[in-house]
């Protein structure tokens, strides 16, 4: 039953349909938030990113993921080098050095690094042969993630740095993380919190304090969250209608086409719209897990679940921020938020998943 060239029907068309639906919601809301403003036409640029992303996804899916995993060490070194480079020569936008110009567009290196870490972790955990993850291996995995994490924090980009954590945690968990280790890690994490506080940049601290006490910071990030909550709440069950959200249209919602796009969506489409959007995300994530369950080997499963962890974390943190349940971190909502690098990352990640799927029956 050798099948060297996987056919079109082996793609996960259900998942692609879900992705297409989410992208449509995103485009609708990007249009709604930007038409009639200086940013008009942004939805067209997003479509371009989506097309490029889809093409890359299909190209990426044709390449056997084992070949990619073989190159993990080299990819890791490239990733670290790129992060270092961006710190030295990167382009500063919005107060952070995250961008390097590629093909006339500014791309965020850290998005690429996320993908590399998924691959590196998959390779690492796949090589762990024991049923239970030893402390030694756990520490090794931690170090693998720790180096790029510190470099990303230096940019500074707390949001992206944080995304690396669930990849590590989910990977370790599936690799047989022992409960006692988990307990120790949680304990250490709690003890490290005060130290972490000192490491945070002033604006990051402000975001945390304003999350705790939003009323003390009426115009800062507390204001952003409050306005986002007002937008969501005023949408009600049925929503205020496409293009009719006053919070959205009058500019009360911050970066409404990107990080806070869910806020604008919730205002204009109401709870029913949220139900649709979150339902689609849940379907996507469950579908990803299902793909992992059906992976041919552990390496494939770790790739799938790395992608699941990254996307799931994005959705959770972004949506929780929109409803004021988490501090503002600047993590976009996958496939809905406007953004080149983030979109490309998601499609490349999905490409990996397709890659694993296409090779379910090979050998």
């Amino acid at each position: 039953m050798i099948k060297d060239a996987p056919g079109a029907r082996d793609y996960d068309w259900w998942m692609l349909a879900i992705i297409a639906a989410i992208c449509t919601l995103g485009l609708v809301e990007i249009y709604s938030t930007t038409h009639g403003s200086v940013l008009a036409g942004m939805h067209m640029r997003q479509i371009r990113w989506l097309v490029i992303g889809a093409v890359l996804m299909f190209v990426f899916s044709r390449l056997d993921y084992h070949l990619i995993l073989d190159q993990a060490p080299i990819l890791y070194i490239i990733g670290i080098a790129a992060l270092t480079a961006v710190l030295l020569v990167g382009h500063t936008r919005f107060g952070a050095k995250r961008w390097i110009p590629i093909l006339g567009e500014f791309l965020q290196v850290s998005e690429l690094v996320k993908l590399i870490i998924i691959i590196v972790l998959a390779r690492f955990f796949a090589e762990v042969r024991t049923d239970e993850l030893s402390l030694q291996d756990l520490i090794k995995a931690g170090l693998l993630v720790g180096v790029p994490l510190v470099l990303i924090l230096k940019q500074p980009d707390l949001g992206t740095a944080l995304v690396l954590m669930p990849m590590l945690i989910v990977g370790a968990f599936l690799a047989g993380l022992q409960w006692k280790h988990a307990a120790v890690i949680v304990l250490m994490g709690v003890l490290m919190l005060p130290v972490a506080w000192h490491v945070l940049k002033p604006y990051q601290k402000e975001r945390v304090t304003s999350f705790m006490h939003p009323e003390e910071d009426a115009k800062g990030s507390g204001y952003q969250v409050l306005q986002s909550k007002i937008a969501v709440g005023s949408g009600g069950f049925w929503g205020r209608g496409f293009g009719n959200g006053s919070q959205n249209q009058l500019g009360y919602i911050p970066v409404k086409y990107s990080d806070f796009i869910m806020s604008a969506w919730a205002e204009e489409q109401g709870f029913k719209g949220v139900l649709l959007a979150l339902g689609l995300y849940m379907a996507l994530l469950l579908r990803l897990v299902q793909n992992a369950q059906r992976a041919k080997d552990r390496a494939g499963m770790f790739l799938d679940m790395g992608v699941t962890a990254a996307l799931g974390f994005h959705v959770l943190v972004n949506v929780a921020m929109v409803i004021g349940a988490m501090p503002v971190t600047g993590i976009p909502l996958p496939l809905m938020s406007y953004g080149g690098s983030a979109t490309l990352f998601v499609f490349l990640a999905i490409g990996l998943v397709m890659n694993v799927r296409l090779r379910r029956f090979v050998n």
């Binding site: 909550k229 937008a231 949408g235 009058l250 992992a292 679940m305």
Partner: protein, 647 residues
């Protein structure tokens, strides 16, 4: 290619399944979060969104204008702009306050005080921080819309009064409502609103004030107006027509001029006030914006008491004008009888004390009856009348005729004057009434006090045979209170004949203000502020008087009665106040004359004088023969004449 990690298909299915449950669980939690915001608290956030988006800016309703009886505008409005501060976001206000103070040229301390004072008002109510915005202020607000989105322009209507304090005591003035008024108004008033503070502005505030409208505009997140919602039109205040006659008012104002005093002209048949002046008069235009503390203090401390509304609030000794009341009391009570005569040697001794007549030292009145006593204002005659009547009778009749009580004019803060009585002295001074005091009261001195309005009201009432109409300034007033005092025909006839004689008979104290062709009656009064001897001791030479004159025409059922008082004058009432009254009565008839000429010829059947037909005047009927010519000489130099005042 290394294959050593391939083909390891031991998948941790349990843990993968757990991951699915975690995903479902987290998405469900998020949905709960949305449910809370969008379904449970939806109304609250809907309101917050609305407050974000909609800014309510009041549209100030103009106050009603005031017109004179012929429809001429007496009090008007003009548009002006105020700067208002939106206080929804107090943190932002605090932050921007220094910049605002700087930009608008205001004192930061004052602004902070104002904010402190209005702390308890609802946050959505803007406050006026600068009443009269300059073009520079407008430019400042427009250019800082983005960084200081807290300022707005508000069109308001300011009051415009006739200049120079014209009629200002009747019209009153408006001012910013006080915080207490705002709290008491149940949200109807806002800081910066204007309300009537005195006079008609206060009396008819409820009529004059309109209902402000509301402009609801949509603003974006930087405070820029991007659209409009429903507009609630303001309801302008009602225009009120006054009984004031602008022409007569002008004569009244000019008549008083720089003099300190008051004039009131009434139509006793209707109670309509035709002219109303009190001098000195503040110019209410000075208060139309905001009166400074210094200006207010200056007005309050001014020796001329410009804020005193003398027509209704000056309580003065009426002097000889009071003899009208005395004469009426005598005729009504028949104490002493009608044919009572007294001999005036220039003074009289009562209760062991000498009381001078005003002609003392220069002349004497000789034998006088009621008529000649009125005409020549003989003090000695009325001393005798007062002695016979006694204070309680005087008090009874004075009160019956309308003194010692408010007339009920439609103005705030009217004073009631004072009519002394035994009971009053007992109550206030805790001693018995000194009979000697009665003698002073008989000639309107002592503790008797009246307002100019009361004099016009009472004299008009007596001449109208006891028919009193509540004085009023609002033309369409509902329910003019009426009062009927039973007076015998003989009483009215005799008193009015006496008052006719004052003006028209040779030797009458008001002879100098006689009007050709008009049945003009009146009585002068000169109430001494300081006794002659006291004035001499102070080196003033002459005492200061309050000069009174009350006049009316025609003799019976007059159409116009005018009372005037000139304070602190060295002159006799007949010369100080008499011309003021005469000019108004004259102007009244000239105007009436013009009107009747323009219409049809009117026959004056029951009137003794043909008014308005100046070309062929009939001889005035002289009810009583003129008095002796030598007594008229006493009138020529009345300025030196003094009356006695006793406290």
């Amino acid at each position: 290619m290394s294959y050593w990690f391939r083909n390891d298909n031991r998948l941790p299915q349990e843990r993968l399944a757990a991951a699915s449950y975690v995903i479902v669980g987290l998405i469900t939690l998020l949905l709960f979060g949305f449910w809370k915001l969008q379904v449970i608290d939806s109304d609250k956030y809907g309101q917050l969104a609305e407050r974000n988006r909609v800014r309510s800016i009041p549209i100030i309703a103009p106050r009603g204008r005031m017109l004179d009886r012929d429809g001429r505008v007496l009090v008007d409005n003009y548009p002006s702009f105020s700067v208002i501060l939106l206080r929804d976001d107090m943190a932002a206000v605090d932050k921007s306050l220094p910049a605002i103070a700087d930009g608008l040229g205001l004192s930061l301390d004052d602004l902070q005080d104002q904010l402190g004072n209005t702390k308890n008002l609802p946050k959505f109510q803007p406050i006026v921080i600068k009443p009269e915005a300059t073009p520079a202020d407008v430019a400042f607000i427009e250019s800082h819309r983005a960084d200081i989105p807290l300022l707005e322009m508000l069109m308001v209507h300011r009051r415009r009064y006739l200049p120079g304090g014209f009629m200002s005591h009747a019209s009153g003035y408006v001012g910013e409502v006080s915080e207490q008024q705002i709290e008491a108004s149940n949200g109807k008033l806002r800081p910066g609103d204007f309300g009537g503070k005195s006079g008609l502005e206060r009396q008819y505030n409820d009529l004059l004030v309109g209902t402000d409208g509301m402009r609801r505009v949509i603003v974006n997140s930087v405070g820029k107006e991007v659209g409009r919602l429903t507009e609630q039109e303001p309801i302008p205040g009602k225009q009120i027509q006054l009984t004031i006659d602008y022409d007569l008012q002008q004569v009244a104002e000019a008549g008083l001029g720089d003099k300190k005093g008051a004039v009131i002209a009434l139509n006793p048949q209707t109670g309509e006030v035709l002219a109303y002046a009190s001098h000195p008069a503040p110019d209410p235009n000075d208060f139309a914006v905001r009166v400074s503390k210094e200006e207010w203090q200056r007005l309050n401390e001014d020796e001329g008491h410009p804020l005193l509304n003398r027509v209704t609030q000056a309580q003065l000794a009426p002097g000889s004008v009071f003899k009208i009341i005395m004469a009426t009391a005598m005729l009504e009570s028949r104490i002493p009888p009608e044919n009572f005569t007294a001999f005036c040697p220039g003074y009289g001794v009562f209760y062991g004390q000498m009381h001078k007549c005003w002609v003392y030292g220069k002349s004497s009145h000789g034998s006088v009856n009621l008529h000649s006593a009125l005409v020549r204002s003989c003090d000695v005659f009325f001393y005798n009348v007062g002695m016979h009547l006694g204070i309680d009778n005087i008090s009874k009749y004075a009160k019956m005729l309308g003194l010692g009580a408010k007339t009920g004019i439609d103005l705030p803060s009217e004073e009631s004057g004072l009519v002394p009585s035994e009971e009053w002295v007992q109550r206030v001074y805790h001693h018995k009434w000194y009979p000697g005091s009665t003698i002073s009261v008989s000639i309107g001195q002592g503790s008797v006090m009246v307002t100019p309005l009361q004099i016009a009201y009472v004299v008009g009432g007596i001449a109208s045979s006891g028919e009193y109409k509540q004085p009023h300034l609002l033309k369409d007033i509902q329910n003019v209170a009426e009062k009927r005092v039973e007076l015998r025909e003989n009483t009215v006839e005799q008193v009015t004949q006496g008052l006719y004689g004052v003006v028209n008979e040779a030797g009458g104290t008001g002879n100098s203000v006689k009007l050709q062709g008009i049945e003009f009656c009146g009585k002068s009064g000169t109430a001494q502020m300081m006794s002659y001897s006291a004035a001499s001791r102070l080196g003033l030479g002459k005492g200061k008087n309050d000069g009174w004159f009350v006049g009316f025409a025609p003799r019976r059922n007059p159409e116009i009665v005018v009372a005037a008082v000139v304070e602190d004058t060295a002159e006799h009432g007949g010369t100080a106040a008499g011309p003021v009254v005469r000019d108004i009565v004259k102007a009244y008839y000239e105007k009436k004359d013009k009107k009747t000429h323009g219409q049809t010829t009117v026959e004056y059947k029951d009137k003794p004088i043909e008014v308005g037909e100046s070309s062929e005047k009939k001889e005035k009927p002289a009810p009583k023969p003129a008095n002796k010519p030598e007594e008229a000489a006493a009138v020529v130099a009345p300025t030196s004449a003094k009356k006695i005042r006793e406290n």
